[in-house]
């Protein structure tokens, strides 16, 4: 009975952790799926989003949930700047991204990751900080759930659903989907490819930074300049699991990872749990390169 309780509790926490993983990876997924570029500095923008939550809490008393939209707005601007600084030259007038351009963007965003994380150490110091946000707990049968984590999980799913609705139901969303399929098709829909690609990138950054804010609920003393080095790889694995460009894929990948990590932790050590979670990637790439979702 006790074992069953533990497993149910772990499952509940795993699912909630999975939700926040999903939203953290979702921004990467949007950019990867649409403009076919993998932002190696993804983790650094999660980190900046988390610091956004920390500073807005410190100076304005905002909770991480309230910071998320502010972070998203900043993320939009950063995303546009990122597109025009790093991607525009490589992507314009190209129907598909070449291996050459892929190398260039990998290397350039890798440089960006080094730059941002070290700038952050200078600005924020290396000492970890946290946001204190605790709206209480909720009792579900014998499972006690912290409300903060529950809110974050719900908001994460809503964000993913929101981006999905945006892509499915709006004109500009359909232009983005067209771009993802075939760049020249964007023009047939009557949209400017560069505008579509930059918007998709900006949206990706908005979600990434908002995700960073939501993540702070899970890391009460873990906001630090180098946190990107953990959350970027987690995001890579999630997007590959779900399949780049599939909006619900982020959730599938995130939940898979969250549950695997939380359940394995119950039986072995945290290290083995993380090792296993990372290694899932290899068989998936070998046997289901398109991701788990059809």
């Amino acid at each position: 009975m006790v074992a069953a309780e533990l497993i149910v509790t772990d499952l509940a926490f795993g699912l909630m952790l999975g939700c926040v993983f999903s939203v953290v990876a979702h921004g990467l997924n949007m950019i990867w799926g649409v403009v076919k570029v993998v932002n190696i500095a993804h983790g650094e923008f999660i980190m900046l989003g988390a610091y956004g939550a920390y500073f807005l809490n410190l100076f304005a008393g905002l909770t991480p949930l309230e910071t998320a939209p502010v972070d998203a707005a900043i993320g939009l601007l950063v995303g546009y700047a990122f597109y025009y600084a790093f991607l525009h030259r490589e992507l314009r007038n190209k129907e598909t991204i070449t291996l050459q351009s892929e190398m260039v963007t990998l290397a350039a965003t890798f440089g960006l990751s080094l730059f941002v994380s070290n700038l952050a150490i200078i600005l924020f110091t290396g000492n970890p900080v946290g946001v204190n946000y605790n709206p209480g707990t909720l009792q579900f049968g014998y499972v006690r759930v912290p409300l903060a984590a529950l809110y974050v999980a719900i908001l994460s799913v809503l964000i993913i659903m929101g981006t999905w609705l945006f892509l499915e139901r709006t004109f500009i969303g359909s232009a983005i989907r067209a771009y993802a399929q075939d760049v020249t098709a964007t023009e047939l829909v009557g949209a400017n490819p560069a505008k579509v690609a930059s918007l998709a990138t900006a949206l990706g950054f908005a979600v990434t930074m908002a995700g960073g804010a939501l993540l702070t609920v899970w890391i009460p003393v873990g906001i630090n300049p180098l946190m990107g080095a953990l959350y970027a790889p987690i995001s890579f694995v999630i997007v590959v699991l779900g399949g780049p460009g599939k909006m619900w894929g982020s959730l599938v990948g995130g939940l898979t990872l969250g549950v695997v990590i939380d359940l394995l932790q119950a039986f072995t050590t945290a290290q083995i749990a993380y090792a296993a979670a990372f290694l899932i990637l290899i068989p998936v790439l070998v046997f289901r390169p398109e991701g788990l979702l059809k």
Partner: protein, 311 residues
Amino acid sequence: MKIEKPGLTLYGLCIVMALLASAALLLGVAVSSILLLLLIYAALAYSINFITGMMGYVDFGHVLFMAIGSYALATLVSYYGANPLLGVGLGALLGLVFALGIGLVILRFRGVYFAIATVVLVLAAYNIVLQFPQLGAGGEIIFNLTFQPLATYFTIWTIVLIEIVLTYYVNRSRIGFGIRAIKNEEDAASSVGVSPRTLKLTGYMLGGLFGGAAGAVYAWSISGVTAGPAFDFTFSLLMLAMIIIGGVGTSIGPLLGAVVVYIPSYFLLTTVAQAQPLMIGLLVIIMALFLPDGIVGLLRRSNQRLRLVLE
């Protein structure tokens, strides 16, 4: 393999290596410990050059081979009291063997998928090493050896020399043509008879071999290994930065890159520790976006004669 007559680039590199050797002999321990680290950087840069530089497969996880080499030497020396040279040999061998095993699986992935797989493997390996008490269980393995700076120095010097000569001749040989074809257009390469699987595995194993050897010497030079720093991505990133800045795939680029990355770090470390990676990050961004062939490419374009001479 038919050996072609060497060109100016190789002579130049050999002169630099000769200078490095005599500097250590003449100027003594203090200088040699500065140059030692430079040579370790260079050895790492040449080792990743076989993979990322020549084949175009971006390897963010190259530090894995370095860690394998470090652990090989540390274990052998601290538990069995073996000669460190034996440890370097074992590091190289294990690097090669792991590269074979890993390469068979992940070289099937292309582009960013390969890059991500390499990241994931390092993280997984790190977490696995933490489980083994024999490997220090996340702590450190330290050993006490009599201070022997020249032995360490000339070991890594020899490794770099081998790497330079090998890089130079591989680039000019039949294999070099095949590898460059793969880097340019893998499908087309196999449509003219190149076997990408074999060649990619060859390149990857060379990278593993020298990465392991350099990692072993690194552990030797700091008399031990600690899990955290051993698997620190910073090393992977520095290696990549060195070849991107120097010029990917060339035989002179990795050494140039090592100098550019290392020398400022030596002076900046005393002021702001973050200034070095900050500058390197900025430099990598600029190089990647505007000078994809690095310093070597820049020199080649600036002068017709250099274009023919620099390799």
